[in-house]
Amino acid sequence: MMLKVETLDLFHGDAQALDQVSLGVDAHSVVAIVGANGAGKTSLIRTIAGTHKPARGRILWHGQDIAGWPSHKVCELGIGQVAEGRQIFPTLTVRENLETGAMLKRAKSKRHTNLERVLALFPKLAQRSRQAAGTLSGGEQQMLAIGRCLMGEPSLVMFDEPSLGLAPAVVGEMLRTIRQLASDGLTVVLVEQNVAVSLKLADRAYVLENGRIVLEGTGAELLADDRVRQAYLGL
């Protein structure tokens, strides 16, 4: 197993955001994490990424415990993140934003091929390469966030609500891109408000409620589950 999370606890001050969370991600699979607002999805991603420090539990990356590692060391392992709210650098140019993604040791030598790949994936970014990233539209900023992450040569990418706040036409494009990346061999953890779509895409899925995993199974199993259908699909 590529990534294995074991009984993870996380606190924001006194408030517990993750409670005994365990999950596994196989290489080259898509894992969806489903949950209501405030369930702890972002907290989980950020704890794996090393920007939050867990109180207890283990995060095993190919068997090595990386819980509590600083984020730059975690990124160096090949764990990338397309964060909630995109988190691009608004005053840097589009090109510079992409370059910041390639400052990892693992990615430095492959900078040029990765840049070509990203610009082929998102031709819009090539047109706007000298523009300040803050002037891009929401959809373009999301493309930039994905492109910047790919510049770091990740083997696992955690997407946190990549379609949030985007126009419906762009949402489809974004999800097609993620499906494409997954079929090219990228391992994907996907948090997506569009639950039906993300479960269809997922090999495995987990439902998070109040910081706890309450349900897990294959994407198809959860799509058919009555509780999921009622709570998240409105059926």
Partner: protein, 289 residues
Amino acid sequence: MPFDFYVTVAVQGVLTGLVYGLMALGLSVIFGVVRVVNFAHGEFAVVAMYLAFLGFAMFGLDPILAMLPIGLGFFGLGYLLQRHLINPFVGRPEHEQFILLVGLAIVLVNGLLMLFGPDTRHANLPYGFDSYEVANVLIDKVRVYAAAAALVVAALLFAFFRWSRTGMAIRACADNLLGAAIVGLDVKHLYALTFGLGMACVGAAGALMVVLADATPMLAPAFTLLAFTIVIVGGMGSMAGALVGGILIGVSEAFASFLVAPSAKSMFSFAILIAILALRPQGLLGRKQ
């Protein structure tokens, strides 16, 4: 009063102002990225002045050359200070940072007083009284050298931030800290580098200052205040603003001490500060929040 006199005063003010600007640039860079206000800024400048003075008194080392080793040493000192002393305070309430840095300032000034006493020290450069005469305007040679050196250091810093990868990474941290952590930038290291660069500016400026003013520990609080005034006038976080602000304050000081009295030289500077705060609070080249 002949017109040439005014031109002379203005030129001297611009030249001094560039050195002030370099000092303020250090403060501005540190605040713009690390978001820590270096309340010991002027104190560090005076430490650098004493080092340059000692280099000159003991080895005859020209302060304008001493700027290089002092700047380098201050870079290392700044890196270590940020990494080990200040970093734990990043993100903590402002009054805690304030107490830490003011405490540091007090230690530095009193350390200087213990070592050197309160007397002023003057570096008597062999070319200290030489001057250039350009169309009836007399310009001190030392000021020209010091200003040129300050400009070179500032230009190198601009180029570093604009074109180097590390400079780009530091700008990214200033832009979006969470974003920087997400792409895997080592934020603590970059913060320490930034603090080191800011300190290198103060170190270099302090060394150059020895040719413009006599060293005494009592200058330290005045320099801290001066750097603050310049950064606020020029615009918080704007590198060009620090230089422009430095020149403006340098010229205003020159005219105030010439037209009123040397002891009143800060008078115009504070008037400018108040005017800026009232009319353009983001500073001349600062961006609106």
